[in-house]
Symmetry: C2
Subunit: 424 residues, 2 copies
């Protein structure tokens, strides 16, 4: 069912106003209220499992008719087991520390004013995502944990599943005495709905979080008139220094590339110091190749291993998300830093070395959300950082950087307590 452009605008604006009203109501709730709401959301997912799976079957049927790839179909599919994982994730978020109202800093100034910096919700968060249905529950739960109202826009392939999930979550919220409008899902498939969100729904949307492929994120970053917390690309490098422990280099490189090749924290380019390369590169390469990883090298790397495929300029710019690795031999730390400055995407960068001062220079100078010493880039994850859950890894420099958990979905205000002070 298509909606006319005018009525779509009205519909979206109405959604924004309801979200703002819900966000104000949420500001009266306590952390306990939010936890109760989250547990009720998890329960509601379980009691609505039948309807949700039925809606998912409809999405799957349409997806098969559209001949989506097997990978896409797998991402779309819900099973009782995946439903269980979804409600477990919401329960886990219910158990996370609540960031709202935390005092980040407190000091007194000469005028006698007592100043506190206190965490507050951002307000209304718009989340635009692609096919995975579990994002509907994850994102909703993180927004509620941080006191925010959410407007969700799911991919059209998963719209029926997302609607069924959102309906369940809303009934859970309502049952727990929280405003159902704290969580709204755009119910129509029109592409223009995204455009309305990106212009801010007349001041009723405070920030947009795109979660999906590069195309989606770029569109959102280009068109948004509201701030964006976005994750663009993870073109992660590991630099093997001349003072690297060879065994650590082998283990970390293998894990960073092959543990899961499709995640944003996977290593895409290996940089290796020319002094250590003749001895260590073949040792690093062997298990990777054995595990089915395609290896592409620059001229210097090919001198050491003639059977490498020649890497082109394009390789240094490519986030493969696949079992492919580009390899470049560099003169020294400066060469590694220069390559990363040119081709890195500000996500996660690592160095393997036993030399502390080399490590500290790398950690200090490399420009990335996450800088690692002697550890796999696959640790780039909110869970591994102890945040419990994340909505993505932000690659921008503003507001949130790195894993975006509940805390990163807050802002703060200054609460100032006086005793009648006037300013001279």
């Amino acid at each position: 069912m298509q909606t006319s452009e005018t009525s779509l605008a009205d519909l979206m604006l109405d959604m924004g106003k309801r979200a703002r009203a819900a966000s104000l109501r949420l500001s009266h709730q306590t952390a306990k209220d939010r936890s109760r709401g989250l547990l009720a959301m998890a329960d509601a997912l379980e009691t609505s499992q039948g309807e949700i799976l039925k809606s998912n079957a409809l999405d799957m049927q349409q997806a098969k008719q559209k001949q989506l790839s097997d990978a896409m179909l797998d991402r779309l599919l819900l099973t009782p087991e995946r439903m269980r994982a979804m409600s477990d994730a919401v329960r886990m978020i219910a158990g996370l520390p609540d960031p709202v109202g935390q005092t980040i800093a407190n000091w007194t100034v000469p005028s006698g004013l007592d100043i506190s910096r206190v965490r507050t919700p951002l307000g209304v968060i718009g989340i635009i995502y692609e096919s995975r249905p579990n994002v509907t529950a994850d994102a909703s739960a993180l927004c509620l944990r941080s006191g925010n109202a959410a407007i969700l826009r799911a991919g059209s392939e998963s719209l029926n599943s997302a609607l069924a999930i959102a309906t369940a979550l809303r009934s859970g919220l309502e049952g727990a005495g929280l405003p159902a409008d704290a969580l709204q899902l755009v119910g129509t498939p029109e592409r223009e709905a995204v455009g309305h969100m990106l212009t801010g729904l007349d001041g009723n949307l405070d920030v947009v979080v795109p979660r999906g492929g590069k195309g989606l994120v770029e569109r959102v970053q280009n068109d948004a008139r509201v701030p964006v917390i976005g994750h663009l690309e993870g073109l992660c490098h590991i630099y093997i220094d001349t003072d690297a422990d060879p065994q650590k280099a082998v283990d970390i490189a293998f894990n960073a590339k092959m543990r899961r090749t499709g995640v944003c924290g996977a290593m895409e380019t290996l940089l290796i110091n020319e002094a250590i390369a003749p001895r260590v590169l073949p040792v690093i390469a062997a298990p990777l190749r054995e595990a089915g990883c395609e290896l592409r090298g620059d001229a210097q790397a090919k001198e050491l291993m003639a059977d490498l495929i020649s890497a082109t300029e394009e390789d240094w710019r490519t986030e493969y998300l696949a079992p492919i690795l580009s390899i470049k031999v560099v003169k020294n730390l400066d060469g590694a830093l220069a390559h990363i400055a040119r081709y890195g995407t500000g996500h996660t960068e690592a160095i393997v070395t036993e030399n502390t001062s080399t490590a500290e220079r790398f950690l200090n100078e490399v420009d990335a959300a996450i800088a690692l010493h002697n550890a796999s880039t696959q640790f780039a994850d909110g869970g591994e950082f102890g945040m419990g859950a994340e909505i993505g890894i932000a690659t921008g420099r503003i507001h949130a950087r790195g894993p975006v958990g509940a805390e990163q979905l807050t802002t703060f205000k200054y609460v100032v307590r006086g005793t009648g002070q006037t300013r001279p």
Copy 2:
């Protein structure tokens, strides 16, 4: 001299590239280097005083020919005394704590990784401002204190003064061994230069800070394709609660309105509880009126003081920046909060009350960068907050909120130290 559109684009892009290169060079400098650079900038302002005053005289002459208002002419004027204040401000910033490299948080996760959140510069900051020449020095100094490169765009009326100041500052930087390109001023008056900055100079500009009137800030917020840290309006309210101490109410209201009427932290609307209004409103009004403040009231206020001018809907929406005050009688705290939620601009809001629980509810629920209890709204100022200096008061919710000092011009990265960890 006009620049053709193509060559302007090239010129701006070149500026962006130089700024990025300077920002990378700055990342190798220490806090001490930055302090030395700042002191050299202050010295250079003094040794170049003659040239700067000459350039300012040229701006003044053209401004008079254009028949700018006396207020505008006064803002534009430089004197030896004002030059002294300018170099003193830069020296003061040289003495502020340097935020770069500070560890904000540190923890260890079960995998054994040691995680630190460390402050880093934002990168390249674009600052777009209007006529006051001292902003050229203030903004440059705050950007350098926080390790950022700056691209400045001054108002056309003050371009000669700004260029002379920037030339002096750059020579100071260079003399101290820091890259002069860490500070660049757009040297041409074309309006299109701003457009180029707002599209991010091909990824070489990380954030834009507009500093000026509402028109400028709105244009920047609407057109920017890069994040904006902006200060829109300060329509500040004070709510006089039924449990207010009358003397504090009188003193705070007078100071908040009249200390300086043209600042963003000035009170524009007084909200007063209906239970206390008959007794206290006339006492608050008398000294304001005596000091020349025009008083406008809603119907209920006029019942108490018949000689008030009638306030219209427009009054509740107006940041007067003048000796005018709108007054509204409200039923209770909820009435005050509802009025502020509707008309407030998220800048600074205050309550006067001796009732702690009423105060805490106000501080918690009011949506503003700064929420005050028993103190004048004119304390909304980075200096009064102990930040030393500020580039403005941010009214958005993303990244920086409230006074924007050196610390707010930084971001952070996660520095993760391992011992060879791979992710299971």
